[in-house]
Each structure stands twice: as structure tokens, then as C-alpha cells.
Symmetry: C2
């Protein structure tokens, strides 16, 4: 049961408004209803927002909370003046002091994304996604010298989602290679990787957690058995230690936390740090 | 050449600090150097940040800008008191007024991600990524009734990155199917899709832009020729009109914008709106 509604109002996609709002809300132990209102880019749409917010306020008998990242001052004004709500306005709060410090006017440009078909950065990001997909799970050794990061680890240690996240959010070409029993027998990394040593980062995981994850996909298989998971993780960690590969345990970590740690360690040249 | 440095300081991954900071900075026509400082979760690390920020201030002869999303008040205090910089503090600014409005104390919990191995939401998100990968490019008709969204469109209209984004960011199971010459000849949607009509969303694109994108991958092929791109796009749009499928043009749109529009139109049941 929710007791209050939170609105995220933006003239763009609303991603910033939501990230901003959710980070603030995570500080409170309550479960509000979320309403996203993206693309509010005209005074007309602003008036519709006011009606919706005030209707909610009346029905619930509580002030809604409204997070805004509105750049257009006319749109913002309609919402500020009309909404019977608690308004938390990110741009109004921070852009003005920054104008003074920087000694320049803000551009009031809406959204982070202009025409993406003309953006090299966007182009590179899509290329990174394509690259990471083509190099998922050791599928291809082609163009491995182009990789920014190469993840290694046992099956289901988190390599695929992390690779896709690094590509999607950071525009990095992220390949990934499974460490498999054949590698453990040979006591060597997959041969294609030896020339790329400095880009390699390892993912490990607690055997007990790995066993849970594998059992969801192949219940009661040897592959998923705790005994086999223990063996594979021990072998993989021994190999990473032997080869001097940096690694982390993904057991309790989100994709975002894993990716942030990898970026801190690898510091790919293409990303400014 | 950058003329000023911007720091993003967080006790977690720093994703919120960066999203917040980049949205504000996008309002200004200047290219600062970016420095990310995630996982600043102790007073010791805070003192290191102060040293780094003040050193930069001295070298550059300008006040750095510091965006913070620090929850720990002791850490924040060290940075507030020590940094010779312009501090833009998201939590300090907004959490206090919200405490008053909600009549509750904030929890000062660091980061959005607790132990993810215990989170159903996180589990579902990883499942969604696996699902979307397995259902990329019409690879599989299995479990199609579980899809939240099914994207259709000609090859290279943006289906794959959009599907992965919907899975990664919104936890949606997003399948995608290419519309190919065989479908145009039969004048029918791929057979597997007819039972899932209400989940289908179409992506189209200007033939000129499609021709550019395809030429990067297969230069001077019939596949990439403007004539062929014109024919495929015309056929695909005619089919979507005939079948009553909602669609948008991806030509100038980012993945984020495409995904936001799809969510507004499809309003998947699993997402609260």
C-alpha cells in the first residue's frame, strides 16, 4: 500500500529526474507510488501535469512530491505556481549558483541528447554494444586488440551483464571469456588472451551462490552441483592468482558496482578520469 | 583544452553524482576535465579527496566544481570544510526539506544497492537481460508469451540496443524480430508474433540514415544500397500500418529516448506508472 505519490517531471526522457529522485527517496523508509512524466516540453503539457498532480493531492489527501529537471523556465513556472505539492527542483537549485561561479549564462538546452545521428560519441557507444555482443562468452577472437576490457571468470559469474553494462553506459568495448575445465587442465588462460594481459579483469563468486544461480538454469546437474562449483571457483581463482590478474567477487555486488570497480582498476585510456 | 576540473564524489558507485552533475553541466558551453571519485566511504578517504581537489585548484588557478551525493555526514563535513572548491551537494540540499515534509528521519543508507544476491528485483533484472539476449534478432520463439515488449523493424533500425537497454535499465523482457524480405513477400508479420500483437512496437528509420549505417558494416552491398533501404523501409512501414502496430522513427533518437517512448506507449503491466 502506498501512501503518497511521487512525480518525476522532465522536458526530456526523465532519466535524470528519476535517478535524482530515487537517490533521494532511498534515504527514506517508505514506498510511494511512482509516476513518470517525460517529454513535458510545452506550457500546455505543464498545465496537464498541474491538473494530474493536484487531482492526486485531493484523492490521497497528502501533498505529492514532485522531482523536476525542467530546463524551460516557462514550463517550470507553470508547475511551480500551479502544483499543490512539494517541489524539488534540481536545475533551479543548482544552475543559478553555477552561472555565477562560471561567469556564464546557462544554455537552457533540453535533454542530454541532441540529434544522435550526428554524434560521434553516440556512434561509438552503439559500436561498443555491437562489439560486446559479438565478443560475448568467448564467441570470437577477432579484433581482440580493440577491446578496452576483457572479463574472465567461470560460467555465471556475471561476465555478460557486466560487459553489456560497460558498453551501454560507458561506451567501452568489453569482451568476455569463460574459464572452463579445459583451461584448468591446461593450467593456462585461453590462448587468444595472452597478448591482451593488461586489459584482463577477473570475476569470481562464492561457490554457494554460484550453485544457486546455476541450479535455476540446470537443476540437479553436475554443472550446478556445489562440489563442481567449488572446484571451478578454486581453479579459476588459482589461475588468476598465478597469472597476476586483478579480480573481484561479484557475490553481493550489482552490475553497477562491479563496473565501477573495474573502471577504477583498468582505467581504460579512452575514458577520461 | 580544459580550463577547469569537475569532481564527482560519492560514497557509492557515483552514478547518481555523475548523472546529476552531467545534467547540470550540459547547461553550460564548456568542457571541463571530469574526475570520478566513487566509494569515498571513510573520513580518511575524504581527506584524500580534499588534498586532490585543493592540489587541482592550485595547479589550475581556478576553483574546481565538486558534485557530491554523500550520505555519511562525517565524510561530507570533511569535504565541505576542507575543499577550496564550489560544492554542489545533492543530498544536503534536498534530503532535509523532505525529512520535514514526510515527518521522518532519513536513513543515511549508502548506495542504492544492498546485497543484490538477496534482491528479487535485481534477480528479475538479470533474468530480463538473459531473456533479451536469448530473444535477440528473432533467435528464439520460446517463451514469447513471457515477453513484456517485442520490437520489430528492418535490420539496423535500432532493435538490439533498445531491447538490451529496456532489460538492463527497466528489467523488461524485450524480444526483437527483424522484418525481412520474406515477410514483405508474404505480406504478414512473422507467424510467431501474431498471438502477441499487443506487445509489439515498431522501429523505423529514414532510408538515407539506414543506408549510412549499413554501409559501415557491409560497404557497397545490395543490402546497404539506398534503393534497397528505401524499399525495405517502405515495406516495413506499410506492414506496420496494415497491422495496426505503433511505431516511431529512430533516425535522430538515442536509445534512452526510444525506450522512454516505448514505455509510455506499451505501459507494461510489471512497471508501475
Amino acid at each position: 500500500m502506498h501512501t503518497r505519490t511521487v512525480f518525476f517531471v522532465s522536458d526530456g526522457t526523465g532519466i535524470t529526474a528519476e535517478t535524482f529522485g530515487n537517490a533521494i527517496l532511498a534515504q527514506f523508509e517508505f514506498k510511494p507510488r511512482h509516476v513518470r512524466l517525460p517529454f513535458i516540453d510545452s506550457v500546455d503539457k505543464a498545465h496537464q501535469v498541474v491538473r494530474q498532480v493536484n487531482h492526486t493531492a485531493e484523492v490521497e489527501g497528502r501533498k505529492p512530491v514532485v522531482f523536476t529537471t525542467l530546463v524551460n523556465v516557462e514550463v517550470l513556472q507553470v508547475i511551480e505556481e500551479g502544483c499543490k505539492a512539494m517541489l524539488l527542483d534540481m536545475f533551479g537549485t543548482f544552475v543559478r549558483p553555477l552561472e555565477i561561479e562560471l561567469g556564464m549564462k546557462s544554455s537552457h538546452r533540453v535533454g542530454r541528447f541532441a540529434d544522435v545521428s550526428k554524434s560521434q560519441e553516440y556512434h561509438d557507444r552503439i559500436e561498443a554494444i555491437n562489439y560486446s555482443l559479438a565478443h560475448d562468452d568467448g564467441q570470437s577472437n577477432r579484433d581482440l586488440e580493440q577491446a578496452d576490457v576483457i572479463l574472465v571468470g567461470v560460467s555465471r559469474s556475471g561476465k555478460t551483464p557486466t560487459s553489456l553494462y560497460l558498453a551501454m553506459q560507458h561506451g567501452l568495448k568489453a569482451a568476455n571469456y569463460p574459464l572452463i575445465p579445459e583451461d584448468f587442465e591446461r593450467r593456462q588462460l585461453p590462448a587468444a588472451l595472452t597478448a591482451q594481459r593488461q586489459k584482463i579483469f577477473g570475476l569470481s563468486i562464492l561457490p554457494e551462490r554460484l550453485c544457486e544461480i546455476r541450479n535455476e538454469r540446470r537443476p540437479n546437474s553436475k554443472y550446478a552441483s556445489l562440489e563442481n562449483c567449488r572446484m571451478e571457483v578454486a581453479e579459476a581463482e588459482a589461475m588468476m592468482r598465478r597469472e597476476g590478474i586483478r579480480w573481484l567477487s561479484t557475490t553481493t555486488k550489482s552490475i553497477e558496482e562491479i563496473a565501477t570497480t573495474i573502471l577504477q582498476e583498468i582505467r581504460p585510456e579512452r575514458l577520461e578520469y
